[in-house]
Symmetry: C2
Subunit: 578 residues, 2 copies
């Protein structure tokens, strides 16, 4: 270990130094090809997510340049593609909506400030090594939240797809509003949107097998199928231009300014910062979790690793760079990263090339997007986000564990009914409460000796030998304040119902910790048993637990003994059994 | 089991039916003697606690009649004495202070409403069997909270003792205010208060041994020592009357109305109810915890039991009765219950007799209290509450567990600086967060075979045999969402650093639960290991955990096997070791 190691632990390391040294021509080619494919896909997606967030479409392009560069230098994943993503864009819209009107310059300024705060928070969490906090988002909560977000986004896109002015605070209100505006559906808009949705679904599931049946190699067929959205965009744009659908009331993307991302600054308004703090924190955590899970899945496929705390630093820097270049909150996206990976990207240099591609597109291609119908963009988002909705988790958790099922359903419903921020908070609070509740009712098994062995098993599950004078209890949980009384109750109950009892032995093999409250309880149990003429013994106490008990008076005052194994305890206390 | 049992579970049982049947003359005598002693002690205490709560002194007497009767019928403890207690009175003052000015009729009305809400909450918790919620108040939090409350009350009594007008929101402000008003100390008041404090401390520690040395029997000496406060009250009242100290500025209790407790109704004001809800809940929980711990300690001494859910019903009814008879929130008090117990009370009938005693006193004795100096009452409270302050818990938890120490200190400081309600909330939130944090970083030990046995121990603590091809890990915690990633990280790290590794075996003897998130993690670990040419095995999986895993695909897709014992696993996978 070099002497420089100590301070390195507390500074962000630069992954670019690792992969940069081994960079060669083959890698360059792979990265460049991947970058071209990702650029084609990102162009429309960036516009669409900016509009989902309530921002002008070009802001989506701005948010896809600087963050990619920063992540390429600082990120620990080789293939993660950073930029606007669906769920974070939705959360951005929810957060800014309370402070400014969508489409105004003030709204954009708040978006920039939100990216800035989110960047600061991520960076701080990374430098303070707080990446572990994301572990408190359980899988059921994430799943319920992402599914609900998918439904929320889908409902909001239906509005654009049908050309109506529906609105609502919650998913349910939005759906009701859509239904009540059905008479105002703009026919031509729907005639563009609906077939596009059908086409995109067919591209996803039917095109690739068809191409393969027609003799195309799998890899190429895959690439062509992935280009489906681009085809939909090109065709609908050309039709709209040729037939002047805009003149017939179809909403188009319109004029997107040509040019480089602008230099911008966040608003220096402490009151606003205070109000944006919680939304920024939630956006940061959700973005981080999405990014890390994508990154980890892809890294594992090539036996690479990603460093959560390093990811925080990289994502934080990316968001800060978004704030200074006219962007909005970004994170590592699932779809774009998978495309990047599948297209053969080897290093973060692919991200740099993608950034160059987007910059060129911003400079030269935006006029071509003028006639792109908004309904087409809505269709691409709709199809993309519906794949986020995972109904199987409901059945899966229902059969596995009711508490996990409850967490999924509560998060899902709360997000649909109360919005993204409240939904997430409800989900996290509930899952933590359920976890505490579960550990507060520990499984306590009375155990007996399995004949011919030195093993002890639950008397209710196995045929085992027990003594009427000795009660053997195995507590299947660490003892802490919330469950210590459950043990007291169990022992009180046993002592009250078994007059012949002389010894209580706690088999502590599953007790990983005893906190101060539980120690008090053990002392109280011992005192009560002693008063009733019984003795309390412990067996199989773990090393760390024993170390700590030795610092107290408990072991001296204990009425019984501490046995190394439970068999020794039974052998000594009731020789007729063991 | 009788058929009536099922519905009985959901109805409050009536403990009075149990002890009432066996009631005889001996029990009557014991109970009557105890009641006389408790009445003498309760009289001044009830006045003092009512004044601590900011209420007229007679309210303390009213709160000591009906609640005792209700508890006698419904309570499961034989000797608990219900009435005004120090900490709950302090919390009552804090809760009402935001809604009315102390000493006004409006203030009293809010106190009655608070007792009503607290009673409803306790009753509801009892009927819904939510008594377990009190378990989430850890011992360090209770200890820190009670100590801080003791200090807060002591500081507030110093004011009365010195006859100054100090005031402050927090303990620290109050102490500063006291110090800045030192020039306004009323000499004669302090000349009554200070010697009384000294006398009471001496009575506590020095009088009983002295009486015993003088040849008095221990029991009698104990009784005389307990009567010390009554002596202080009689003497100071007589002196104040005889020397007309009131004319010289000494504040006295003054005219306490004679008469039965009045019939009162809570305020029917939904806005007020909403604002009082949280304080009422905190008062209920604290009162319940205090009551149950006193009840349990005393019940255990006579090998009786108390039922927490029944206690909730009894305390709830007691508080409701307080609300309808002009009282304020009550609970089972420590001092009065111990006196009741020591004086020989056998059944709750002692409580009924005490209620009769207090009623007689309210009817006939209150004029005698006119000249009682408030400083004398303050002295009795001061001496009583200082015994609540427990500094030893700091040293004890410091040496036992830093997280428990942190919980004590945080609760103590938060209560002193922010007040009783915020202090309690901070303490509970912190202790829960610490518990979650602790379980999110599980102890994961690499284990090896102890030579000549089938036992496996931590390689860092014992000399054991291990194979380079097999990694044996024992996770000392149930696997759930917050710690599943720690296991992933640990295994990733081991696999990356040991190229010769072929098998990873998880010894699951301490894993009491695996939630849906942790199951995902295990699947991900298995997939990654399989991708890297390794296999994942489990050993010693507990019955309940195995039952649940069997409902999933995990066991079928697992790359390795599930072994009954860890020895079997090692014996098969690395015969050179086992």
């Amino acid at each position: 270990m070099k002497p420089s190691h100590a301070w390195r632990q507390w500074l962000p390391s630069l992954p670019v130094l690792q992969w940069g040294r081994a960079y060669d021509r083959d890698t360059l080619l792979s990265d460049a090809v991947a970058a071209l494919i990702v650029t084609l896909m990102l162009m429309p997606q960036s516009l669409a997510y900016a509009m989902l967030a309530g921002l002008p479409p070009e802001v989506g392009l701005y948010a896809s340049v600087a963050p990619l560069l920063l992540y390429a230098v600082l990120g620990s994943s080789r293939v993660l593609a950073v930029g606007p993503v669906a769920v974070v864009s939705l959360m951005t819209a929810a957060a800014i909506g309370q402070h400014a009107v969508a489409g105004t310059p003030a709204y954009w300024a708040v978006a920039i400030t939100l990216a800035f705060l989110s960047g600061l928070l991520l960076l701080a969490m990374g430098l303070l090594r707080l990446g572990f906090l994301a572990n408190f988002l359980s899988h059921p909560v994430i799943s319920g939240f992402i599914s609900a977000s998918g439904l929320l986004i889908a409902a909001s896109q239906l509005k654009t797809l049908m050309g109506v002015q529906a609105q609502g605070q919650s998913f349910f209100e939005l759906v009701l509003s859509l239904l009540s505006h059905l008479d105002q559906v703009h026919g031509l808009t729907l005639a563009i949107g609906a077939p596009t949705v059908a086409f995109l679904f067919w591209v996803r599931s039917g095109l690739k097998p068809l191409l393969q049946r027609l003799g195309m190699r799998e890899r190429l067929a895959d690439g062509v199928a992935k280009a489906g959205p681009v085809a939909a965009i090109v065709v609908s744009t050309l039709l709209t231009w040729a037939l002047d659908w805009q003149g017939q009331g179809v909403k188009v993307v319109g004029a997107v300014p040509q040019g480089l991302p602008p230099f911008t600054l966040p608003l220096w308004d402490l009151d606003l910062w205070q109000e944006l703090l919680v939304p920024a924190l939630l956006i940061s955590v959700v973005g981080f979790v999405e990014s890390v899970s994508v990154g980890q899945t892809l890294a594992a496929k090539r036996r690479q690793r990603i460093e959560p705390d390093q990811e925080l630093v990289a994502l934080g820097s990316s968001n800060l760079s978004a704030a200074f270049t006219g962007g909005f909150p970004v994170t590592g996206g699932f779809a774009r990263s998978v495309v990047n990976f599948d297209a053969g990207a080897q290093t973060p240099a692919a991200g740099v090339f993608t950034a160059v591609g987007i910059t060129l597109a911003s400079l030269f291609l935006t006029p071509a997007l003028y006639h792109l119908p908004q309904a087409t963009l809505a269709a691409t988002i709709l199809v993309a986000v519906l794949s986020l909705v995972d109904w199987r988790i409901l059945r899966k958790t229902w059969s596995y564990a009711k508490s996990d099922f409850l967490a999924v359903v509560a998060t899902l419903l709360a997000t649909l009914a109360l919005g993204v921020e409240s939904g997430l908070v409800v989900g996290v609070a509930l899952s933590l409460a359920l976890q505490l509740y579960r550990t507060s009712r520990p499984h306590i098994a009375e155990v007996g000796l399995v004949a011919g062995t030195e093993h002890f098993r639950n008397v209710q599950r196995h045929t085992v030998a027990v003594s009427a004078r000795v009660l053997s209890l195995r507590v299947d949980e660490s003892l802490y304040f919330a469950n210590a009384r459950a043990l007291e109750d169990r022992i009180n109950q046993a002592v009250a119902s078994r007059p012949e009892l002389e010894h209580v032995v706690l088999q502590c093999s599953a007790i990983n910790d005893i906190d101060a409250s539980a120690l008090e309880s053990l002392e109280a149990i011992d005192l009560r048993l002693r008063g009733a003429g019984l003795r309390l013994h412990l067996s199989e106490v773990k090393g760390p637990v024993m170390d700590r008990l030795k610092t107290t008076e408990f072991l001296h005052s204990l009425s019984g003994q501490v046995f190394l194994t439970h068999y020794q305890a039974i052998h000594e206390l009731s020789p007729e059994v063991g």
